[in-house]
Symmetry: D3
Subunit: 61 residues, 6 copies
């Protein structure tokens, strides 16, 4: 039941998400000694006009 | 002001979401004795390559 | 894998949370025809100075 | 490291989001005396069939 | 129905949160031309061992 | 700007969180080829009466 939510800028391939899911799950299992089946990961992809840093939209940088 | 966020795999019909909103709202009102108007529900639909369980993407299962 | 996050003002009893978990889970199972074991619910309790509506803290109302 | 997540009904222009990012960032900087570069904002746009208030979908109102 | 979630390092006073709620609400109302009563803000305070940047806990910096 | 939110049952040591932050950050950097400084991690610890699976509170299992 570690539940992980990851916000990403859009544009990742399915293969990158596949590797991300594997590696993040392993990182959690190793750190917390929980079973792999307990780990859920939600990825959310943001358009570049839906993220801002220091008051500026990502698409304006 | 119970605010509810629900993550779902994509592919639900509007009618399913309509029933979900009604039933979840009623469940909260009955459990917490709060007014119906206080309940907000956000649904977020995930592509099957944006959810992973046990290190595997949902689309790979 | 419906994953539910519920924000509540603090002060609910364990019994209220127990009923909430049962009823919200049943509402989701009935609406989406998913197995009960697929439903996870996270409750987060807010202090009254950590929620605001219409620009006013809940503790100031 | 104030990290802000804002849920909106879809349909805002990029210019509205640009102004929102600027104004919300400034509001946080002024209130908390933190540097502008520390503020991240995530906007999430909801379809009108993905938000409910008082048990009713937004698209049904 | 803009719903705002703000993650903060713990240690803000109630007065700081009061000002934050007022200013962020006004920023949203001005940017999106929505009524003040539609804006909800959830603040979540993190202990310094519950936030990490660049792989390091905040309490270790 | 990958921003990660992790929900955990309470009871982890600071050392476990330190390792978690390091390993999850590395997992993201390796998967997405982003700089380490871009990764933020928020951990949220849940009491066992604030998490439910299959309609049952964690504290009742």
């Amino acid at each position: 039941m570690p539940i992980v939510q990851i916000e990403l800028i859009e544009g990742r391939t399915v293969e990158q998400k596949r590797v991300l899911a594997e590696k993040v799950t392993r990182a959690i299992v190793e750190s917390l000694s929980c079973p792999e089946t307990a780990v859920s990961i939600i990825m959310r992809e943001m358009q570049t006009d839906n993220f801002a840093k220091a008051g500026k939209l990502w698409c304006d940088k």
